[in-house]
Symmetry: C2
């Protein structure tokens, strides 16, 4: 049997946000690989081997999956959210490019998922209803100066912004600096949505004006959405609706 590698998005947490094509791929896999908590979400069954690995081992995991696929296994790498957005798909293709030539001929398929910013936006209303950008604030990935420059340019372009991995214990000060850049560049009270653990039992959604946003409102399970200058807040009993109108008057 020919091997097949699927890189599948499990969505932000709820089983009810997993697409049928991802469920089907998991049901026929011989091997599932991924970060420990994501693989744990996949039910055990006879014939399925689970390979759990740490979060920092993306390239090793990708190579392992490609090796298994080359031997004819039906392999699924699971990602949270969408595998193409700050997740495993890029690591797999990086491994393919650097790996042996036969890997390029393997059957490799990416199955999209609900990425965290879409689930977070849906809970808040429609803050990404107009042009927006998505930035990964995780350390190790790029020079901090590049992040600050992107924040300034994104503010100048008047994008709404979604931030992944805003804060970790190893770098608590970076998100504080990012908020400072935004407060200076935006200079208004646009809403900021802190969406933690969306679609899980631990979900918390909190919206504050940008001047009131503080670093400890986020952790590594939080997606942060900063509105554009045109983002609106509709006050009501309970959580407000936050949305960005689709059009800018000509």
């Amino acid at each position: 049997m020919s091997g097949r590698l699927v890189i599948a998005g499990l969505g932000p947490g709820s089983e009810r946000l997993i697409t049928p094509e991802v469920s089907d791929a998991l049901a026929t896999a011989t091997d599932v690989l991924g970060y420990i908590p994501y693989v744990t979400r996949v039910a055990d069954r006879p014939g399925l081997t689970k390979h759990l690995s740490d979060n920092r081992e993306e390239l090793d995991r990708a190579r392992h999956a490609l090796e298994l696929t080359a031997t004819g296994r039906q392999v699924v790498i699971v990602s949270s959210g969408d595998p193409g957005v700050f997740a495993m798909a890029a690591a797999v293709f990086e491994a393919v490019e650097a790996g042996p030539a036969p890997w390029r001929a393997l059957s490799i398929e990416v199955l999209p998922g609900i990425t965290a910013m879409l689930a977070a936006a849906a809970r808040a209303g429609a803050p990404l209803g107009h042009d927006f950008c998505a930035i990964n604030l995780s350390d190790n990935l790029k020079p901090w100066e590049l992040i600050e420059q992107r924040l300034r340019l994104a503010a100048e372009a008047d994008f709404a912004m979604a931030f992944y991995n805003p804060r970790s214990k190893s770098r608590p000060e970076q998100f504080a600096r990012a908020l400072d850049v935004l407060k200076t560049s935006c200079a208004d009270a646009r809403p900021v949505v802190f969406a933690r653990a969306v679609s899980t039992p631990e979900e918390v959604i909190r919206t504050v004006p940008l001047p009131d946003a503080t670093p400890e409102m986020a952790d590594m399970r939080t997606v942060v959405i900063v509105g554009s200058s045109r983002t609106r807040v509709i006050a009501r009993d309970g959580a407000p609706f936050v949305y960005t109108p689709s059009s800018v008057p000509v």
Copy 2:
């Protein structure tokens, strides 16, 4: 019975990309509203009333849905892709804000979906694996000068870019101008992915270097993804893999 309004994302076309929570909402709806081809995708059944409307009538459709909800109906507005990304959710909240006060107390829920750029990126590889932006090129929505400015700033920020609604019969020249801005601002041969009708029987994916991109490669059913300066193309038999590495060397 209390009314409920759900704004649901049907994904890019395939039934296999519709989340279980959206399927469940459709199964219990009394009324489904939306643009004609999207409502047509919902199966008929006793007790379900379909309200089909033209593409240009988003605010009227939103108000109609809110009126039905206020009378106690179980209402679903269907969007292609994700309702929060250049789709119906923003129009609903715009109608809520401008409408009678009791509408703010209605049960309104947005159910996310696979938006076109995620499905297109998955087919091409992982071109959105690093920071990126999403821009709606549709006319009527904003001044053209704003679009050109955003394109230049996005290139300066070195975002990968996803363009929705790049081209229509009524404005064939705008996408040509957008490509000219990109060719000047980027000044390299980064890949451009034209993804038409992703996940439908009419799907076509085509990748060309930016200097070779021409306006007629896109139509209104196409999502266009322009890589960042770091986006890679892995040549192979058949369609290449296109991906953007997750990290920029520090």
